[in-house]
Structure formats: structure tokens, C-alpha cells
Symmetry: C2
Subunit: 143 residues, 2 copies
DNA sequence: TTGCTTTTGATATTCATTTTCAGTTACTGG
DNA sequence: CCAGTAACTGAAAATGAATATCAAAAGCAA
């Protein structure tokens, strides 16, 4: 799994003529070791802990490369922090975001995805990406 | 329609103990005269034109009041600008956003809304709001 | 190694939005 | 109608996430 993702990134880097650097390896390792929906800040702090030398800008730059490489997806919720999550091949999900405890529930719904495509088709629109988020209170936060 | 919205805001203001000010009246008038999806910047410039004295902060503050009053909805697309649109009672729509020409197509889909509620219910989640946007190219921009 | 190019990290900058605060204005009740 | 008081305003400063800058460092091909 992890080796596979590293290979994907290396192949991407090669095809783009990017150099192999210690920083990118470290950032990828640590990104792959995180759970879903890490903010840049969180990831930066985690990296900083074991690798104090790595700069903020490099983390930002590298995460964008992961997105380009198809390893990560950018998640913009309503807290002004960009988050990243792992892309699992052939899988897509959307989010229920609890405004009480900031937890995120993931869900998949084939029917909705299909309806989205129909709506787009009806308007002659070509979808490149979509976002669907529901904000509210999770079971625990409803007391 | 416009008078009705003004009444909604006045009632809201009264219920909250807010004072009636010239600035809020002007900003509401001009907001009501705009079309969908105005950015704060756009609205500010429009206001500035006829009322040079009104400050940026007041526009920001007042738009948030409109949201609270149920007159406006905040729209966060992915261009770093917060936009506001009019809320029409008993109506809800989502957006197709063209990344080519920045146009926005609105659509309603009862089935999707129903499915969203079912998903939320299944997770014991209480929805307060949701956002659904599809990004891509509109018919014109596909050439 | 050499030489060239990319990459990095510290720092400065940007840009939307929020906060601050002193002066102004709206309401209350006498 | 006025005075007192609390809310409101606008200019400017502050914030905070993200990006740009640029000199030094590192990767790579020969
Ligand atoms: Mn997710
Ligand atoms: Mn709309
Ligand atoms: Zn919760
Ligand atoms: Zn278009």
C-alpha cells in the first residue's frame, strides 16, 4: 500500500523531471502515516518534530505535488484551513462535518453521484470535480 | 418583494435590539438591487459609488447580519472571495461552477436533497446546512 | 568532480477578512 | 427636546493562510 504510493509518486516525479530529495521523501512518509484530513499546519508540526530543518514552504509545495500525482485530495471545509486526504484508487466519498466537535464522517452514495452526472449532462456541463459537504451536529454532539 | 425583505431585516433588527442606521439601509438597498453571487468587493465598490463614506468593515459586518436575518447565503467557491446570494423563501439550489468563464449555473434536485437527509439520518447526524458544487466547464467553454 | 538546474528554507509579501478604538450616532426616559 | 448611554461606524492596524522571493544548498548528467 505505502510502497505502492511511493512508487506512484516516484513515477510522477520521473515523468515530470523532478528531482528526488530527502525532504519530499520525508514529507511523503509522514503524510502516508497520517489519518484522513490533515491540515497543513498539523502535518508541518508532525514533520518538524522528527525533522526540524524542513520549512513551511516546502510542505506546502510538496502537498501540491501529491495532489498533482493523484495521491492526495485537497479538502476545503469552513474553517479556513486547507486539509489533505489520501486518495484511494477507484473510491470516492463525501463528508458530513460536525460543527460541534469538528469530526468528519465519510460517506459514499452512488445514486447521488449518478444524479450529479445527469444534472451536469442536462446543462451540457463537463464535471471535473465536485464537493458535497453537510454541516451540522453528529450523534454525539446532539447530546 | 423588496419591501418584504426590508421588513424581514427590520424585524430581525428589532428582535435583536439592533439600531436602525443609514448605512444598513443603504447596504440592504444595494444588496437587494444586485443579481446573484455578489462578492464583498463588488458590493463594496457599488456602494462606494453612490455612498463614498461607507467603510469596508461596515459592509462585511452588515452582510453577516443579512445572513443571520435569513436574507442572504454565504457562497464560498474556490477563488478566495466570499460571495453572497439572495435567499428565496422555500427555495434551495446548488451550483455548477465553470472554471473557464466563472459563470454559475443554478440547479435544484429534490431527489439529491432527500438522499442527503437519508444519509444524515443513517449516521444520526443533524444537518444544519450543506454545500454541493460541481466544478468543470460549461457548454460554451467546452468550445 | 564540474557545471548547470532544481530545490530548499528563511523571510517578505499578499490578500481577504477581522479587530481595534476613538469619534459619531441612535434610542430611551425624563 | 435634551442628556446619558450604549451601539455603530470607519480608518487603520492586525491577523492568518498561502505564495513569492532569493541566496544558499543539493541533485544530477557528463
Ligand atoms: Mn474524507
Ligand atoms: Mn446561487
Ligand atoms: Zn460532533
Ligand atoms: Zn464557462
Amino acid at each position: 500500500m505505502i510502497l505502492e504510493k511511493k512508487k506512484i509518486f516516484n513515477d510522477f516525479a520521473t515523468s515530470k523531471g523532478l528531482r528526488s530529495t530527502r525532504q519530499r521523501d520525508i514529507i511523503l512518509d509522514i503524510f502516508l502515516s497520517t489519518h484522513q484530513h490533515v491540515s497543513v499546519e498539523e502535518l508541518y508540526l508532525k514533520i518538524k518534530f522528527s525533522n526540524p530543518g524542513i520549512g513551511y514552504a516546502t510542505v506546502y509545495r510538496t502537498l501540491k505535488l501529491f495532489v498533482e500525482a493523484g495521491l492526495a485530495r485537497e479538502i476545503l471545509l469552513h474553517d479556513g484551513q486547507t486539509r489533505y486526504e489520501h486518495i484511494v484508487a477507484g473510491e470516492h466519498h463525501d463528508h458530513l462535518v460536525c460543527t460541534g466537535c469538528n469530526s468528519i464522517i465519510e460517506f459514499e452514495d452512488e445514486t447521488i453521484e449518478k444524479l450529479q452526472n445527469e444534472i451536469a449532462a442536462r446543462h451540457g456541463f463537463m464535471i471535473k470535480s465536485h464537493k458535497m459537504e453537510m454541516y451540522g451536529l453528529c450523534a454525539a454532539c446532539r447530546q
